[in-house]
């Protein structure tokens, strides 16, 4: 396996293309593509790939990019695309369709702040807004994980026990545009790892049918429940996919959850993506100083890995969750998910949310130290803490009372009491 120095976008583009190429002996591959910063290099790389069987279709919008991808997948092709931020927002209607159609589509999303204000840097708010759609969501930490999880995503999505689309996410620029050493796959390895796709419900000219037409509520219920049960099987299948990855590529891809120093930890930090890398350094140095601090890195949002979470927090009394996202009126999405997951099982745990690196700001070791200091002093959880932002916003004045609207009485007419 060649070891190279590439960006996260390069790794993603290559993994998507090789996965598509691996289906050349079946129905081939296709992608609807549309550029958006900081994802554009991915679709550029895909568009330049010399596919043996398949087509890359440049379209006029993200909505159509997913539309083409859905159509290609329905025809049995290995289909994928990539997008980011407001582009994902525009794509939403079709993102939902791909999930409810149970299509094994893979999308790489580069997490970029939703505007306005206009901002191109890292923030997970764009993919977290898709959390209630039937998509598996994975969050990579570095270029290697981008390459590995993208390949794994196809294997997972196409497993007949799953048949759900997968979203592979990475931080804008910190991963997407940073050159790092990365083990790149060979086509031969990818061919072995991703067998030809045989989509059970694909469209066939010899057996025409309509998918997703009008149904009664009872049919809708059973389709929804099937999705829920498929999600239930994902952790198990995910682990199988990792094992097969090891067999083919000779190294272990990142897991859905990774726990560091959580045994006997009193305090556990929860982090995702690149923030987790820095957080691990802080936790290691605190451990070295004798503090009982652990770190839980989450890489899967859907399905939410509740069991691993409970296991990692077994000895803990307080959890600090680092969110690089903001859900309006709530705070961090990950903190909210964790609170919901622990509800009724670990009501003793203090869960405090921290908003860090919103809009792509650096989350330095000093910032994470501030979080741990705050967390250590807490008796009770409070509203989300805006880390690194001290001044409160001014409170706008309440509007002046308005006179009630009274319809004018025409002159010369007595108002009736």
């Amino acid at each position: 396996m060649p070891r190279e120095i590439v960006t996260g976008n390069h790794a993603a583009g290559l993994a998507l293309s090789m996965a598509g190429e691996a289906n050349r002996f079946a129905r081939g591959t296709a992608a609807g593509i549309y550029p958006i910063t900081p994802q554009t290099e991915i679709v550029e790389r895909v568009a330049a790939f010399p596919f043996s069987k398949g087509r890359v279709v440049p379209v006029e919008s993200e909505h159509s990019a997913m539309g083409v991808t859905i159509g290609a997948s329905l025809s049995g092709a290995r289909a994928f695309t990539a997008s980011s931020s407001n582009g994902l927002a525009y794509m939403v209607e079709n993102i939902m369709v791909a999930g409810f159609y149970r299509l094994p589509v893979v999308m790489v999303a580069v997490n970029r702040t939703l505007g306005p204000p206009w901002n191109i840097w890292a923030d997970q708010g764009d993919t977290l807004m898709l959390r209630d759609f039937p998509w598996i969501q994975l969050y990579a930490q570095d270029n290697q994980q981008v390459a590995d999880l993208t390949l794994l995503a196809f294997r997972l999505a196409e497993d007949p026990r799953v048949l759900l689309p997968v979203l592979v996410c990475m931080d804008a620029f910190i991963v997407s545009h940073t050159q790092m050493e990365t083990e790149l796959p060979t086509q031969e390895q990818v061919d072995r790892y991703l067998p030809p796709l045989d989509l059970p419900h694909r469209m066939r000219s010899d057996d025409p049918k309509t998918l997703g037409g009008l149904v009664w509520p009872d049919a809708t219920v059973s389709l929804r429940k099937e999705i829920h049960e498929a999600f239930d099987r994902v952790p198990m299948v995910f682990e199988e996919c990792r094992q097969e990855f090891r067999d083919v590529f000779g190294r272990s891809p990142a897991g859905a959850v990774e726990a560091y120093h959580t045994k006997n930890a009193e305090t556990v930090l929860v982090a995702t993506a690149t923030i987790a890398t820095t957080a691990l350094e802080v936790v290691r140095s605190r451990r070295a100083a004798g503090e009982r601090v652990g770190l839980l890195i989450l890489r899967m949002l859907r399905p939410f890995p509740i069991d691993q979470l409970l296991e990692a927090c077994a000895s803990a009394s307080r959890i600090g969750v680092l969110d690089r996202d903001y859900a309006a009126g709530i705070g961090g999405v990950w903190a909210h998910e964790i609170r919901a997951a622990l509800q009724g099982t670990r009501d003793d745990l203090l869960v405090q949310g921290y908003l860090t690196g919103i809009g792509g700001g650096d989350v330095t070791a000093e910032r994470i130290d501030e979080v741990l200091v705050d967390l250590g002093q807490r008796e009770l959880p409070g509203p989300p803490v805006w880390v690194g932002l001290e001044d409160p916003a001014p409170v706008p004045a309440a509007p002046p009372p308005k006179a009630p609207l009274v319809p004018p009485v025409p002159s010369g007419v007595e108002a009736t009491p």
């Binding site: 191109i120 050159q179 690149t274 923030i275 820095t278 989350v363 000093e366 932002l389 001290e390």
Partner: protein, 748 residues
């Protein structure tokens, strides 16, 4: 771990330099990172790139705040910001042609290395001459200062596909680096870690607060600026009128303001609005799009409709005599009176106005229009003495009695043509005929008339002849219609009224046999046909006789309109009569020639301009004060660059203008016109024609630039265009969208 921060400009290859260094280290087993600090930078904007390498796995995913070394790709970026957080003992590597010592003085606490990577890049043809790509040269220099084997860096370059000139550049720079130790090594590094953030500016704080946005103006390599050109109409106007200025005012429906602008240079807008040949219209850039703006009719509208009361200025002691009350003399008198000088105009004829009065028929210039404009001049205190012809001796007396004398007697010597009928009452001079017509002293009932000449006098005479009863009027001209000096519209109107034009015809003589008709008085005018030969000194093609082409035109009357020349009998023998010349310097007070007498220009507008220049000259003689250039009433708006050149159509963005035909204004039907001397034009109905002015080279506040500015950093404040350079990226869209070329890009 080694951390390097790179400062460069977009296009220089800073991010790739980070990757080159990272790759060189990656190939020797290091863990590496290379990345840029991205926003929406474009070519030329300051950028930062970062490189980390370490034998251990790298866990830091943040920017580099405390670099071990700093590399500066562009010497213009050398400044205090580049050392922020730089660790003691770190290198500062600068691409510059300066010696290391010069750079070391700016960074006393650090080791300094310099290399002229730009020269090396140019030598190796890397990038373009304007944006050389310096990264591979600097990669060689980095190898040298960080003691990375050059072969490792070259291997990294090869791994990334860089060869040829890039390799040579890296080798050259490796050799050429000059280094200098820190002058005072032990200094605390400038803190670079971000502290707690203060609250940023809010969307809700309104226009008063700072906008919550990156100050993108630092990315610009060029900035839009405002400029102004000279519009061709203003440049060509013989009267020196601010043509574009009064059109602007009319376009805003400010008729009084338009008149005020005209009255700065001319006392005769209503007159010129009727009789001017309007060279401004011939030069109008709009004719490249559809048709010239009808400036003549718009000037008439301003003169006829506008209302301006001129203040009488404070009186000055000097008194000036003007000889002649034609447009030149009256213009000089008007401008002198506006300075406050006492002016007396002497006119030989019983009425004021010179040729305006006697030489232009009422159907083109009604007497009452002239009266009104002359009244404006006399209201300023100008005295007019009529029936007072000044001879040579009289001129000397005036030069004694007044502080200055202006002679504006025009062109009174009429050119003749020897046809063998001199002295016979068959042949009339056009000017005399027009004067007789004015005084109801001419009837040509049933006559056949031949007018000789191609100027306005010829046209006026021909058209007047039709109105006093002539049954047939022919105009013979020795060149073609195209070369006729008469206003094109007047030729057109004459033809509409029934005048017959014979082009390329030269009269030779009146034939004797024609006299045999006896009682009828009819003659045969012998003519010869001409063709156009080589251009003469005036640029017009010289007419050449076509041999054997003689023919005869029957006629009972010949009107000669062959042009006039100055009558110099009033001046001492040998006097050089020219504009600005002080004719009688030996006398007590200066005497100047003005108008056609001095310029032989032959237009009312030219005479007005000459009179104005004379007035300014006299004022300068009296007071030493220079009021204006004297040529044009140029109005400078507040721009960054004043271009003294005339803007032509090729400098305008014609495709951005909509086509719309010009308005001619209404006029009488040709059949109605011949019944008397009623004015045939009735003028424009409103000011809308003025809105066709393209405003060549001068901002007319159309605000297209403001509309198209994608950053919203271009505003209009009052009459000013204001660029917010803090945010302007220099995209240049305002320049390409300005139809009239008043915004240009200025390189920083």
């Amino acid at each position: 771990m080694v951390e390097i921060r790179i400062h460069g400009r977009g296009g220089q290859g800073g991010v790739t330099l980070a990757k080159l260094i990272a790759t060189a280290r990656f190939l020797t087993g290091h863990s590496v990172q290379a990345f840029g600090l991205y926003a929406a930078e474009r070519s030329g904007a300051p950028i930062q790139a970062f490189c980390r390498f370490s034998p251990e796995a790298i866990t830091d995913r943040n920017l580099i705040y405390e670099p071990d070394h700093v590399v500066i790709l562009d010497p213009t970026l050398v400044g205090p910001g580049v050392t922020r957080g730089l660790k003691p003992g770190g290198w500062i590597l600068v691409n510059t042609e300066l010696p290391a010592e010069a750079v070391a003085e700016q960074f006393p606490h650090n080791r300094v290395a310099v290399v002229d990577a730009t020269a090396i890049a140019l030598e190796n043809r890397l990038g373009t001459r304007s944006v050389p790509i310096v990264n591979t040269a600097l990669a060689g220099a980095v190898a040298r200062i960080l003691e990375i084997p050059l072969d490792d860096v070259l291997a990294g370059m090869e791994h990334l596909g860089f060869g040829g000139g890039n390799v040579t550049a890296a080798r050259s720079a490796f050799q050429a680096v000059a280094i200098r130790d820190a002058i005072s090594p032990d200094a605390e590094p400038e803190s670079a870690r971000p502290g707690p953030a203060g609250r940023g500016a809010s969307f809700l704080e309104g226009a008063g607060g700072e906008r919550p946005a990156i100050q993108t103006g630092s990315w610009a390599t060029s900035q839009p600026k405002r400029q102004q050109y000279v519009p061709p109409c203003n440049h060509i106007c013989p009267a020196g009128n601010d043509v574009q200025g009064f059109l602007h005012a009319l376009a805003r429906d400010e008729v009084d303001e338009a008149l005020g602008i005209l009255l700065r240079t001319t006392p005769f807008p209503s007159v010129c609005g009727r009789v001017c040949p309007a060279p401004c219209m011939q030069q109008c850039n709009r004719s490249e799009l559809d048709e010239a703006v009808n400036v003549r009719q718009l000037e008439r509208l301003a003169g006829d409709v506008g209302r301006v009361v001129l203040e009488r200025p404070e009186a000055r002691s000097q008194r000036v005599a003007v000889v002649g009350s034609g447009p030149g003399g009256l213009s000089a008198g008007y401008h002198l009176a506006r300075f406050g000088y006492g002016v007396t105009v002497y006119e030989g004829a019983p009425e004021v106005g010179g040729l305006l009065r006697t030489g232009i028929p009422d159907f083109r210039l009604p007497g009452k229009v002239l009266d009104r404009e002359i009244e404006r001049i006399t209201d300023l205190g100008v005295q007019v003495v009529t029936d007072h012809r000044v001879d040579r001796r009289g001129l000397m007396e005036l030069a004694r009695a007044y502080d200055a004398v202006l002679v504006a007697t025009g062109l009174q010597q009429l050119r003749d043509l020897r046809l063998g009928v001199g002295g016979s009452d068959m042949a009339l001079q056009g000017i005399d005929f027009l004067d007789q017509v004015k005084h109801d002293q001419a009837r040509l009932d049933g006559e056949t008339v031949v007018v000789v000449g191609g100027g306005n006098t010829a046209m006026d005479a021909a058209r007047s002849a039709l109105r006093v009863g002539a049954s047939e009027v022919r105009v013979v001209y020795r060149r073609t219609r195209h070369e006729m000096p008469a206003i094109a519209e007047e030729i057109e109107e004459a033809l509409e009224e029934g005048v017959i034009l014979h082009e390329l015809v030269q009269p030779v003589s009146l034939q004797a046999e024609a006299q045999a008709d006896g009682d009828t008085g009819s003659h045969g005018l012998q003519c010869i046909r001409m063709r156009l030969g080589e251009p003469d000194a005036s640029g017009r093609r010289r007419p050449v006789e076509v041999e054997g082409s003689d023919f005869s035109l029957p006629c009972t009357r010949i009107i000669l309109a062959l042009g006039q020349s100055p009558d110099l009998s009033v001046f001492p023998e040998g006097a050089e009569v020219r504009e600005g010349g002080d004719l009688l310097g030996l006398l007590e007070h200066p005497v100047f020639a003005v108008g056609d007498l001095a310029t032989n220009d032959g237009t009312v507008a030219g005479a007005i301009g000459s009179g104005r220049r004379a007035a300014l000259h006299i004022h300068q003689t009296f007071t030493g004060e220079v009021v204006e250039t004297g040529d044009q009433a140029r109005v400078r708006s507040d721009v960054d660059l004043w271009n003294d050149e005339v803007i032509r159509a090729d400098a305008l963005r014609m495709h951005l203008f909509e086509r719309s035909p010009g308005q001619e204004g209404s006029s009488l039907d040709p059949r109605e016109r011949l019944d008397g001397f009623r004015e045939i034009h009735t003028g424009l109905p409103d000011t809308s024609e003025a809105r066709r002015c393209l405003s060549c080279g001068v901002c007319n506040e159309c605000d297209i630039c403001v509309t198209y500015c994608p950053e919203g950093v271009l505003k209009r404040v009052g009459h000013q265009l204001v660029f917010d350079y803090a945010y302007c990226k220099g995209c240049g869209i305002c320049v390409t969208e300005c139809p009239r070329n008043v915004v240009f890009m200025s390189h920083l």
